[in-house]
Structures are given as C-alpha cells and as structure tokens.
Subunit: 197 residues, 2 copies
C-alpha cells in the first residue's frame, strides 16, 4: 500500500518485533530498535513510555474503535452479538492487513511472562470498557459483564486460529464460527443417566 | 472452629489484610505484618516470596482442589457443567468459611493495579489448567478453552455478588444462578426487525 507519509510508529513496531523475535525481548535495547528503524531515541520516547509499550501501541486505538462500533451499532442486536459484530468490523479495518505483524507480536508476548501480564491487563481494561458501554445500553450490569466476557472469549478463540501457521480464513470469518462454538459449548446438556436395568 | 495447631499462614494473611486495609498495600511493610501477627520475618519468608504473595497464598491450593474435583467428577457432565460443579464443591470447602477475609482481600486487590496484574495472571493460569484437564477429557482444545473461560466468567459473576455488602447467599448457591445468567446472555436472540408498513 502506498503511504503518503512515513509512519514512525509502525517502523518502530516492526523493527522492535524483528529484534524481539531474533534475540528475545529482554536482550533487545531501545537503541537497537531505533537503529534498525532508522530513527532516533527521541522519536521512540515521543511515542512509547518504555520498551514494553512498543508492543501495545495499537491497544488504545483498537479499544476506541471497538467501543465506537458498539455504540454506533444496531440496537436490535443482543449485547453479545453487538460486541462480536463490532469486533468483526474492527478486525477488517485494523487487523487483517497486519496479520504477519500481529502474529509475530502474539508469539513474542507468549514467550515472556512480563509481557503476558501487560497483555492480560490491557485485555481486562478492554473487557471493562465493553461492559461499561453495554451496561449503558441494556441497563443490567450482570448481563453487560457476561456479554463482554463471552465476546472476549470468542475473540480469543478466533484469534488463536487466525494466528496459526497455514490458517487462511480472515479474522472476520473466524469470529462468527467462534461465537457458534461458544454457544454450542455453553448449551451442551448433561447426558441422561442410563436407565436402570 | 477449634484448630489443632496455630496456623502461621492464616495469621500472616489476616494481619497483612488488616494493615493493607488500614494504611494501603504500598505503605505496609513486612516488619509491620509480622509484628501484628506475633511472628518473625523468617517465618514470613518461609511461606511467602514477597509482600504481594501473602495475598495469593491460597491460589495454588485452590487450583489444585479445583483440578482434582474436575478430574474426579461425573464424566456424564458436559465440560462447562463439570467445571462449575467443581467450583461449587471447592467454594464450600475452602471459601465459604473465609468470606470476610476473602472479601477484604478482593477490595485490597481492586485498589492496587500491581496486585490486579498478579490476580489476572493467577486467574489466567487457573483457566489454562482447567482447559488442560478438560482437553484431556473431551479431546477438543477449542471446547476445552471455551468451557474453561465460560466457567471462570460465571465464577467471577458469582464472586462479585458474594463479596457485596449485605449479600447472604452462599457462593455455592450463587454459582448455578450465574451459570444460568451466562446461558441466558449467550443465547439471547436478535430482535426481529419491524415488518415493513
């Protein structure tokens, strides 16, 4: 895709991911990242508070987009469907064209407990923000909490598949499948006990 | 309840919670905790790696009990029901008689981002352990992942009610209600669009 201006954030993120991938997160310095990106440390710290944050640059924007989509969405949809619908739109808009980078980022985070903690924290904040917008919409805090959590669960299941080597389906296509699997799992009924002889 | 021996771990946890509650987690030292408990720093560090861990002493034991209950449970139950059933048994066995302490712990954690991160991390580890035992049982990793996540969601919803001031129902009673609410939320169907005039 042609770009009308060089994107410092994206260059820093790509350089950081390459280096984390090659030599590990711990062993990579900010100096190495800016060198690989052809930028200065000043630029780095203009955009990110620390080395960890370079991996989470997209989080705030993603959250804003998801919340915006839920708020703008069809009121007739039940809360869970409304969130999954918003996740589908945002997946198309912000993630699908970055599949390789997002997949690499996921692998780097999975390899480092400190990064996993930050990721869990960002996900918890996103879930809470989703629950808040659902609560305002449906009026019931428990339904909002459960719908937000269930949507994030479907999202994670879809995401795991989307980042698997060889997977070609889009995240948008995987999301409804994951929601279907979640519904099936949640609705599984106990097997009847065998009849007495 | 009469105890056959003094429980250093419980005394340290109670003292720590009281102090965190009174003066905040950050401002409390290990020296103050052991003084309040009438024990030594040596005893503290025999049981806990750091000040944070005093709040998470029960986690490993809880996880072990929950996994054991799932493994020992009725094979005819679908994965989600099997986990909720195990959570009910463990709630009765390990949490119900500690309601005040557990509620206070929950409030201390909610007030401190660093403690919240640790809590999220422990919950993620528990969810993964549950998913692993379900996977071994049902053979399908996605069903295992979704059932474990859904059970934790019901658990959190029940837990939120259980720790609310004035709530008198037991966690064991609140769990099936939360599971029912989760099922209702996940199954809500879209409202039909209005007929054209």
């Amino acid at each position: 895709m042609p770009r009308w201006k060089p994107d410092a954030v994206e260059r820093l993120q790509t350089a950081a991911l390459e280096l984390f991938d090659e030599q590990g997160f711990e062993r990579t310095t900010v100096a190495e990242i800016v060198q690989r990106a052809g930028l200065t440390q000043r630029t780095f710290f203009n955009h990110f508070a620390d080395k960890r944050e370079v991996l989470f640059g997209l989080s705030a924007e993603l959250q804003q987009e998801i919340i915006g989509e839920i708020a703008a969405g069809d009121d007739a949809l039940p809360p869970l469907d409304a969130v999954v619908r918003a996740l589908e739109v945002v997946a198309d808009k912000m993630l699908e064209n970055r599949r390789a980078v997002v997949t690499r980022r996921y692998a780097v985070i999975a390899a480092n407990p400190e990064l996993q903690e930050r990721e869990l924290s960002k996900n918890a904040a996103l879930t809470e923000a989703i629950a808040a917008v659902l609560h305002a919409r449906c009026g019931d805090p428990e339904t909002a909490f459960l719908a937000a959590g269930a949507a994030m669960l479907a999202q994670q299941a879809a995401f795991r598949k989307w980042t698997r080597p060889g997977e070609t389906r889009t995240l948008r296509d995987l999301l409804p499948d994951a929601l279907h699997s979640l519904r099936t799992t949640v609705n599984q009924a106990p097997v009847d006990p065998p009849l007495p002889p």
